[in-house]
């Protein structure tokens, strides 16, 4: 099983849209996928029309395996389930380690309800101080959308520094440029500069600034489901394909 965290230490960068479309693409490739909605602001569950589960806001949630498995909802798409919780992060490290440990009660309970997943995708909240470093430690990949602006450049540098300070493997960071506007010369310059500064961290694929992505809130469906042939749809597919190779998901 692989755990992929969608993370950004800056809001409004298209992180939830990325989590939603990546989850869709992974599931469509045949992997049993669980998308965990951990970001109360992003609400990836909203895009799948799944209502948030009120029960799961209680703090000792992860102790209660049965309630956890009961909170999972099937999406409208094959192989894709959603955990629509607004979770507290107190027990987040417990959650992750249990997801990884095949002998844990959580894994056994999931297996019993045929919810043993190949990939777990976390839509993480944008606050690094709140998020336990264990997410970075446990996740196989941390996918980071970056808008090519000076401000984003600084926050990305901070994330890389955090990894270095905590002695976390930087190669788990898979960054890509998000909301790219080809007409903006600043975007072009920042893009080139950042690729130069972090040559191995950035994927070649990037996601354009597109109305289809904006319209996800109206359509309440992943772009890959509502407009797969749009520029944004194709970009998400390219992102998925490249990431799959980088983290060995295609094996």
């Amino acid at each position: 099983m692989q755990i992929i965290a969608c993370y950004s230490n800056k809001g409004g960068v298209g992180k939830t849209a990325t989590a939603v479309n990546l989850a869709y693409a992974i599931a469509a490739s045949g992997k049993r996928t669980l998308l965990c909605d951990l970001d109360p602001q992003g609400a990836s569950g909203f895009y799948f029309r799944v209502s948030p589960s009120k029960k799961l806001t209680e703090s000792r949630f992860f102790e209660d395996v049965e309630r956890f498995t009961k909170a999972i909802r099937g999406s409208d798409y094959d192989n894709l389930d959603i955990l629509p919780a607004n979770m507290s992060f107190r027990d987040f490290d417990v959650f992750l380690s249990r997801m990884k440990n095949g002998q844990s009660r959580l894994k056994k309970a999931l297996r019993a309800v045929k919810g043993d997943y190949d990939v777990i995708l976390l839509d993480c909240p944008p606050n690094i101080s709140m998020l336990s470093e264990s997410v970075f430690r446990t996740a196989d990949a941390v996918v980071v959308p970056v808008i090519p602006t000076t401000l984003s450049q600084r926050t990305f540098d901070q994330l890389v520094a955090f990894f270095r300070d905590q002695e976390l493997p930087a190669k788990r960071i898979h960054a890509f440029f998000s909301m790219v506007q080809g007409a903006k010369s600043l975007h072009g310059e920042t893009l080139a500069q950042m690729r130069e500064d972090h040559p191995k961290r950035f994927l070649a694929a990037h996601i354009p600034f597109a109305s289809e992505i904006e319209r996800m809130g109206v359509m309440r469906a992943p772009v890959l489901a509502s407009a797969p042939n749009s520029a944004a749809g194709k970009a998400y597919m390219a992102l998925f394909a490249e990431l799959a190779v980088r983290i060995g998901m295609d094996r």
Partner: protein
């Protein structure tokens, strides 16, 4: 927990009842594929798939097996394959491993199918449960829809809403009724061994007539399959049915007037007579594989030639029998016999006609049992084959009597005494088969005049006869042991209690 997948069927015109509803405030949406695909539902003649709560359906290039309580299985279809053995390897074939290798999968109904999907959607536009729709439009018969609800995790209540909606619209679960009958009310529900109610006070005349009438029905049900040469079981069942009619005539002594009994025996014999040649050849071909295992590979060429001959002979015999069954003369005769036992006005009562069936059965079974014990106890290794043959016939008669009258006696006791009887019969049957096979093989060699490779064939057949002879001797030794099993004190007591209470053995 996600509930097990279950399929329901309902007349297609009731689907509107589903789509017009708002179960639990959810919107029902049905979509159908624009194109139709040819479909065929297949089952054996005895509907062994339906009886084991399965539905085998070919749609387009795919074959699907729906099983109550299990997930649907799919694989590439092989519509030209008549037996499961001819299917491509796959999950459906594996799940059909228990289907008789002798029974062909017939087309129960066929036509055009349209696939679709039914969804229950909430106010957010989220699907809470969906179902696979298979709308079947048979070439002749009632259009039906198969609905297989598919639960989505976390929406169990919506699943339950959908199921009660389906049931409310007249949906029947696959194991809750007969889908074939919904499509075609005339669809034959074939049972090779019909259970005939036998009331204890019912007259022997009525029981005999009921039995004969029922078995004429069984025989007739198999005619089409023999003519079309669908599989060898049709002829086998046909012959057994006629044999049972004949045993009722001979075992139910004096139930009908003696002259009429003699006449009926002759008429049923005459019906049976043209079927023997084809059955013998069928048996050869069914044993083909075993025969190859009995002789060394160096003699297989001779067997190849033998089976080529036999296949040719079988083809002719089949054509002859098919022609015979299609004649007006045959139809007139069997229809007349059928009518005789349905209307019964022209049946003449014999001396035992009005006896109560229960007493009559006890007397017949007890006599037959005593006779078997007498013959069997005298059998040694040197007893002539003819006497062993006689024991086999007596056992068969006892078995038929017990089968005919079974419903009038306690089931548990019957099963207890049937078990060792079956074992004894198996042994006697093998002994007899080995003998008949040897005789038939010798007769086959005699028919080979003019065959240029006669010597080669004769060598192989000679080796085969030698092995069969050895087997027959070995089986002979087992018969005494099998009889000892049948002759246990417990079985004796049960026979006495059931059929001869209070009288001396």
């Amino acid at each position: 927990m996600t509930p097990a997948e279950e399929t329901y069927y309902l007349p297609a015109d009731r689907l509107a009842d589903l789509t017009d509803a708002w179960p639990g405030g959810l919107r029902v949406m049905a979509e159908h594929a624009p194109e139709t695909l040819p479909f065929a539902i297949r089952d054996c003649f005895d509907q062994s798939l339906r009886r084991s709560q399965r539905l085998l359906i070919e749609t387009g290039g795919e074959v699907t097996l729906l099983t109550v309580g299990r997930a649907a299985l799919h694989q590439k279809a092989t519509p030209e394959a008549r037996f499961v053995a001819g299917f491509l390897g796959g999950p459906v074939k594996a799940a059909l491993a228990d289907v008789s290798v002798l029974r062909a999968l017939l087309v129960i109904t066929s036509g055009q199918a349209r696939l679709g999907r039914l969804s229950l959607i909430d106010s957010e536009g989220k699907t809470r449960v969906r179902a696979v729709l298979r709308r079947l439009e048979p070439t002749c018969g009632t259009p039906v829809v198969l609905i297989t609800p598919q639960a989505l995790r976390g929406y169990d209540r919506a699943y339950d809403e959908l199921v009660s909606l389906i049931r409310g619209a007249g949906g029947v679960p696959l194991d809750g009724g007969n889908l074939y009958r919904m499509i075609d009310p005339q669809c034959l529900d074939y049972i090779a061994k019909p259970v005939i109610e036998v009331g204890r006070q019912e007259t022997a005349f009525d029981v005999a007539s009921d039995l004969i009438g029922a078995y004429i029905g069984v025989a007739r049900a198999n005619e089409r399959g023999i003519i079309d040469d669908q599989d060898t079981e049709f002829l086998h069942d046909y012959r057994i049915a006629l044999r049972k009619v004949r045993s009722v005539l001979s075992l139910f002594r004096d139930v009908f007037a003696p002259e009429q009994t003699a006449e009926l025996k002759a008429r049923f014999s005459a019906l049976m007579e043209p079927t023997g040649a084809l059955r013998d050849l069928d048996v050869y071909l069914l044993e083909q594989e075993d025969f190859y295992g009995l002789v060394p590979a160096s003699l297989h060429d001779g067997l190849d030639r033998m089976f080529t001959h036999i296949r040719g002979e079988r083809e002719n015999a089949q054509a002859r029998l098919a022609n015979h069954l299609a004649t007006g003369r045959y139809d007139k005769e069997i229809t007349a016999l059928d009518k005789l036992f349905t209307r019964r006005r022209k049946l003449t009562a014999g001396l035992n006609a009005s006896r109560a069936s229960y007493d009559f059965a006890r007397e017949l079974i007890w006599k037959r049992y005593r006779k078997i014990c007498r013959i069997a106890s005298a059998i040694t290794d040197t007893t002539p084959d003819a006497e062993v043959h006689d024991l086999r016939i007596q056992c068969k008669k006892l078995r038929y009597l017990m089968e005919f009258f079974g419903p009038a006696f306690p089931k548990k006791d019957f099963e207890m005494i049937l078990k060792p009887l079956k074992k004894l019969q198996d042994s006697l049957g093998l002994f007899n088969d080995y003998g008949i096979q040897q005789a038939n093989l010798r007769a086959f060699i005699d028919r080979l005049d003019g065959e240029p490779r006669k010597l080669e064939i004769a060598q192989s057949v000679g080796a085969l006869i030698a092995v069969l002879h050895q087997r027959q001797i070995a089986e002979r030794a087992k018969i005494t042991a099998a009889f000892a099993g049948f002759d246990s004190v417990r079985t004796q007591r049960t026979f006495r209690a059931l059929f001869h209470d209070g009288e001396e053995f």
